[in-house]
Amino acid sequence: MNRNGPIALIFHVLFLGFLLAPILIVCAVAFTSQGYLSLPTEGLSLRWFRAIGDNPEFIRAFKDSLLLGAVSSTLAILVAVPAALAIARHQFFGREAIQALFLSPLMVPHIVLGIAFLRFFTMIGLGGTFAGLVLSHVIIILPFALRLILAASTGMDRAVENAAASLGASSWTCFRRVTLPLILPGVASGWVLAFINSFDEVTMTVFIASPETTTLPVRLFLYIQDNIDPLVAAVSAVLIFLTVAAMLVLDRVYGLERLLVGKGRD
């Protein structure tokens, strides 16, 4: 049985500590009773959580963000999976160029993309629409989905797909029943990453969001432009809480392990 040794576990704990430290600090700050950023040294207070209720724009923006993230990451996955399979499976003319193209949104500063999209959308009449927002997000989150699916599908055992074909599965069925389940961990983590990135994007979205549909990060960003107060921490804490809750539900309903690890594996 392969188990992690003590050194590995120490490393693991330090690693998680590093990842968690700033998050925990922010959560702690959310409970301060002061009007400014400080650790809650003199008693916990929920005033900043209550303050969220006084800012209905935050809640509206949160919903918009969720919708935007879900729609755009799903679209991105739909586009990325076939492209990843093409790149992982085939040697063809232009393969590297296509790969570089799909990855290029990662490499352009988002401010530049923001202004480019704003100019372009204004030109073609998509300015300020939800569709424009979705499309621009699909572009910037696609590389994440693509790379993860690519990592999962390179070197996958082709014999298994051959077996499916020999049993009469069409390419589509073979994909749906065999390939997809086997690369599902990659697809799932790709979707999660894509969603998170869409959900967290500010620099570009500031330019293309319209007053009617603004995302939560844009709201927060504009808010802290002017004054940073523990409200921001409170919103973050709520987000963290919601995420954990969502993951727990997902775990109950479908199984996180199964999603991220794959079925029938150990």
């Binding site: 499916a164 389940p181 029938g264 150990d266």
Partner: protein
Amino acid sequence: MAYLVLDQLTKRFGNWTAVDNVSLTVEKGELISLLGPSGCGKTTTLQMIAGFLDADGGRVMLDGQDLLAKKPNERGLGIVFQSYALFPHMTAAENVAFGLEMRKIARADRDRMVADALKLVGLEQYGDRHPRRMSGGQQQRVALARALVIKPSLLLLDEPLSNLDAKMREEMQIELRRIQRTVGTTMILVTHDQSEAMALSDRVVVMNKGRIQQVATPQEAYDHPANAFVANFLGRTNLLPGMVGSGAAGTVITVADSVWPVAQPMAAGPGALAVRPEKIGFVDAGGPGGGLSGTVLARVFQGTQWLFEIETAAGRLMVIRQHDGSPLPAERERVMVGWRAEDMAVMPADPEATSLSREAA
């Protein structure tokens, strides 16, 4: 017309020719075995028939249709892969059911057929297990059940029984034979087990280095090998060097101190005498037949039979005797061996012959 025709099928990997101009016709309902040393191109040939490798040349016709033009999933073949290629994310039962689902068999029928197939391979209690949690032999049987359950008209079997014990293997062989007879399935079997090939096949195809060496019924190939490679590959053969000359009774070959009549006319000179180990018996000194004297170097128990290695003046001989309780010589005992003249073959000396199969590996 022949059911399956391979016509000059060729496959190259880089500048390595794995399959070289293979032509073969298979009748409907026939069971053909591909035999040959490891790496001779058996799997590659099957993969081309199945459509997973593109042929570099040649044609495959099934029932008069060009198979290579069809997509793999439209070829309707059943395949058992050498590496099993089970779906790791599905249970044994789901693996078996897959082909039926593709054929849109109704749920109830499907369940029944899957249960039957699992029962056939002795895994009725393992339907819910994932491949990773099964033993090697169990996985192999799932692979077999998966291919059999769809009742394909052409079944390609790549070492389908290599991880099964004798008992189970025999049962599976009988099962395959039954399916072939009752359903009329045409089968191409790759196996390294010669007795399996001999027992099951209508004809065997012996390959070496990507080329076909002989196509014949098992007994024919065994008793009348087309060339030294086949002789050597199918079962063991003793090759003894000798001198061909003329004796009183016509042409004879002299091996050490024994003299054997040669049926066919041959030029005098160095020659070789081939005789299979199971055709050699222990004879009484001075009995009929030439008879070579020697010493038992080693005797090895092989279940139904004993294998003897005997040092003679003409070189080492292998002798096989059935384990039927009759008295057999012990190690280091001096013995006399002999065989019937019709069981031996005489050929001109061929320095390469004995090393052929080795080199082919």
